[in-house]
């Protein structure tokens, strides 16, 4: 079902209320959101899915639409069919009114409850009434949510909820759609969150204690998450004057022993690139989160894309090691974020986490038991008087000291340097330092995350490959198709690539699906494995892939 209205009309309030109540009741829920880059007006929508089997993907089809303004139908016309039930207020809708519309007196009930501002609570009540979810769950939620504003406010909200609820219950009997969704079995304890929250939890769990960043959608959420928790977890949060300052401050802090992250989007990351190169040269850990959105330039600030893989892969001048994670689920976000910090510390390199607007702002549930903490690994040494920051070693990794810890001096230099960190133009030392900085790639590759197989490889002729936020949509599309000739492979790390892919890909036709215009990961895979990619399934409209998009693309390929 989809809720759509102007910015500021409370679509978000309805979504949060419904997700919480439906989850409490026991359903699997998922929501994703699309909105315009403006503060008021326009048309924003949120999709909520209620499913028996866990489904965390965007569906283009709309079964139930709550239209809070008259511009909604035009905005969503490609997703509405004759089967879509539209809940709207007839008098506001004019000649758009049709047989599939249900006159829903949101404003009338809201005013009855006290003010027109309650119409979103009425709408949520309608939904819960339609599905026969116990009203007590909703009133308990409202109690918890509004008690701080006083009993009177709670009471008015409850009136609004009840009016909507009765209307929904009565309407359910009259419509011709099945509202029976079985509760999932077992019902383990689950948590409900969006991707940004998962990223925040991963960051806190990773022992992060420093962030310096400049706001840019959709990367800002992490900065906000940590800013609300500085005291509780001892995190230094600094809003930098620009992205260049952000990453250089992060590296300064990291040099002094902080576990540092920066968060941004592609455009902001453009400015950070010199810092990535610096991290490579001074061998200082830094974790970089890029919440991708469509470029080039300002692009579509509030929309989604996976267009910055090449940017992360090639950012910074010169040759040095790096790693890039690309989580696709809440659990993967929490896990790869912790891994990113440990890896950055161990290998003294920049490590990237690539997400996107769709992943960060989608909400779903996750079994509490699958939210795992990794051990926070530190690799500092207490220095002695003879300490050399860039001592040559077999694996290229010099023990890392921090200033003030031990008797030694820690000297780092963006110029080519000798073992003491002193500027040098010796070609011999240069050659050895270049080797030193790159040697760790071998071990990084061996330790790379093994991609996840979706379905069964046995009878599969074609592997459909995803990375980042497309994991769930691929899983569902393959399920819908149910054709054993297809299996999926999902990469939660896109660089370096696990060596197992060579055998995994053997004798299989390769398709790659990604949310960009050129197939950046397909090209990387091709380059790294020498295999050709039979088909690139691409989308770069600013929207995520829908389940239907992927199903259609794969059906289509059958007839090629």
């Amino acid at each position: 079902m989809v809720f759509c209205g102007e910015a500021g009309q409370g679509v978000q309030t309805i979504t949060v209320a419904l997700l919480n109540v439906l989850k409490k009741y026991g359903y699997n829920v998922f929501s994703c959101t699309e909105y315009m880059s403006r503060i008021r007006g326009g048309s924003n929508s949120t999709e909520i899915r209620i499913t028996e089997k866990k489904r965390d993907a965007y569906l283009r089809r709309i079964d139930m639409l709550f239209a809070l303004s008259h511009t909604v139908v035009e905005h969503l016309k490609d997703r509405i069919s004759s089967k879509t039930l539209i809940f709207a207020e007839k008098e506001k809708f004019g000649d758009q009114w049709g047989d599939n519309c249900i006159d829903t007196p949101l404003t009338k009930f809201a005013v009855e409850a006290g003010s027109v501002g309650f119409s979103n609570i009425v709408a949520a009540g309608v939904v819960l009434g339609m599905f026969g979810i116990p009203l007590e769950l909703f009133t308990a939620y409202l109690q918890g949510k509004f008690i701080a504003k006083g009993e009177e406010i709670v009471a008015k909200n409850v009136i609004a909820a009840k009016l909507g609820y009765s209307f929904g219950r009565d309407t359910a009997a009259t419509v011709d759609i099945s509202l029976q969704i079985s509760l999932p079995d077992g019902r383990p304890e689950r948590v409900l969150m969006d991707g940004t929250t998962a990223l925040g939890i991963g960051t806190v769990a990773a022992g992060c204690n420093f962030i310096s960043s400049y706001p840019m959608s959709p990367g800002t959420g992490l900065l906000t998450f940590l800013a609300h928790r500085t005291k509780e977890y001892g995190i230094v949060v600094d809003q930098a004057e620009d992205e260049i300052a952000a990453i250089n401050a992060g590296l300064g802090a990291s040099f002094a022993g902080a576990r540092a992250i920066v968060t941004t989007s592609g455009g902001g990351f453009d400015l950070m690139q010199e810092g990535v190169s610096l991290a490579g040269m001074i061998e200082t850990p830094i974790v970089i989160h890029i919440g991708q959105r469509p470029g080039p330039a300002t692009g579509l600030p509030t929309r989604t894309e996976q267009g910055d893989l090449n940017l992360a892969l090639h950012a910074g001048h010169g040759d040095f090691a790096r790693a890039i994670f690309s989580p696709g689920t809440l659990a993967e976000i929490i896990d790869t974020t912790q891994q990113a910090f440990n890896l950055a510390q161990q290998y003294q390199i920049p490590v990237f986490i690539l997400t996107d607007q769709y992943l960060l702002e989608s909400v779903s549930t996750i079994d509490a038991s699958s939210v795992k903490r990794r051990t926070v690994e530190t690799f500092f040494v207490k220095t002695t008087e003879t300490y050399q920051r860039y001592a040559f070693t077999n694996d290229g990794l010099s023990p890392r000291g921090v200033p003030g810890y031990g008797e030694g001096l820690v000297r780092v230099d963006s110029d080519e340097h000798d073992e003491n960190g002193l500027i040098t133009e010796s070609f011999d030392i240069r050659r050895r330092m270049v080797e030193k900085r790159l040697k760790r790639m071998h071990s990084l590759r061996e330790k790379a995350r093994v991609p996840t197989v979706i379905g069964s490889l046995d009878q599969a002729e074609t592997l459909v490959i995803s990375w980042g936020s497309n994991r769930s949509v691929l899983e569902e599309a393959l399920d819908v198709i149910g054709n054993k000739a297809f299996a999926g492979i999902h990469f939660s790390q896109v660089f370096p690539l696990s060596p197992v892919i060579i055998s995994l890909f053997e004798n299989k036709r390769l398709f790659v699906m990604e949310n960009n215009a050129t197939g950046q990961f397909a090209d990387l895979l091709s380059f790294e494995t020498g295999r050709s990619i039979s088909r690139k399934i691409l989308k770069a409209t600013g929207e995520p892939f829908s389940v239907e998009d992927v199903v259609d693309a794969l059906h289509h390929s059958d007839h090629e």
Binding site: F210, V236, G252, A253, S254, A368, V402
Partner: protein, 287 residues
């Protein structure tokens, strides 16, 4: 002049990349003397710089060092201090690095007010890139690029710093090691962001602002100069005929950023990560 004995001296025979007669040599001595006289432990000292001839200064000081990118000494230095406020953090860079490439960081570092010291080697010309105009080059100076003379109004670091209520603003002249050293001592001892712009002759590329020129065009502030008078200090900062030297302004009232955001004395490298219980508590917020 360079035969100093301090704990900050690098081993003999180290290759110093500055030209003979360069003002940098004298400024280096002044900085090392100042550090020595303040009794600073080099293990707890971090010298931070960007890129340029001046920015090589930390290479020649025995201490911890972060020789970062052109223009980016201030973000790095602030990050270091926020990660471990027990460290003494001193930034040394040139006028091009600090006021050109790093100009935005200069403005915002003043706004933050973190307890670091910023020493700017101001020779009014680009040295390492061979003689182009710098942000502080005077109008009319000809260079290989500014063939018809510099047309831009020079950047006035002191006036800008005072406009933003920088809590410690001073100017020195590298040719006078003793007094420069005294000013730098005050700057390092000051609790807050301290800025010392140091006139420093470039004997190769700047034929206008020579040792003689600086001697003729500078004058020390009088003994009775009121360092609390910001408006008066501003007047002195925009004075043209004779360029005043000394501590223009001190403001102990500005709160440190590290205090405002509640940074304790335990460095971040000693902070404890979440245990399982705290982690579960965090996750359970979303049940």
């Amino acid at each position: 002049m360079n035969k100093t004995v301090t704990p900050f001296d690098m081993p003999d025979g180290i290759d110093v990349a500055w030209c003979p007669g360069c003002g940098n040599h004298m400024l280096l001595s002044a900085v090392k003397f100042a550090l020595h006289e303040l009794g600073i432990d080099r293990k707890n000292l971090v010298m931070v710089s960007g890129i340029g001839q001046a920015a090589k200064a930390p290479q020649y000081i025995k201490a911890n060092m972060f020789n970062g990118l052109h223009g980016r000494s201030l973000p790095a230095a602030q990050g270091i201090k926020l990660a471990n406020r027990n460290l003494v953090v001193v930034v040394e860079s040139g006028d091009g690095d600090m006021y050109g490439e790093g100009g935005n960081h200069f403005l915002h570092a003043i706004r933050r007010n973190i307890d670091i010291t910023v020493i700017v080697h101001d020779n009014m010309v680009y040295g390492l890139t061979k003689g182009q105009a710098s942000p502080t080059s005077q109008r009319g100076m000809t260079t290989p690029i500014q063939e018809n003379g510099v047309m831009l109004e020079p950047f006035n670091p002191l006036a800008v710093a005072l406009a933003l209520n920088a809590p410690f603003v001073a100017r020195a002249y590298a040719g006078d090691v003793e007094r420069t050293q005294e000013i730098i001592k005050q700057a390092i001892a000051f609790k807050g962001l301290s800025i010392v712009d140091v006139f420093q002759p470039c004997v190769v590329f700047n034929k206008v602002n020579t040792y003689q020129w600086f001697r003729e065009h500078t004058v020390y502030l009088p003994e009775n100069h009121n360092v609390r008078d910001r408006t008066g200090a501003f007047g002195l900062a925009i004075q043209q005929d004779k360029l005043p030297l000394g501590v223009f302004y001190r403001n102990e009232q500005r709160e440190l950023y590290e205090d405002q955001i509640g940074i304790g004395t335990i460095p971040l490298y000693q902070s404890n990560p979440l245990d399982e219980e705290a982690f579960q508590k965090l996750v359970n917020n979303y049940l």
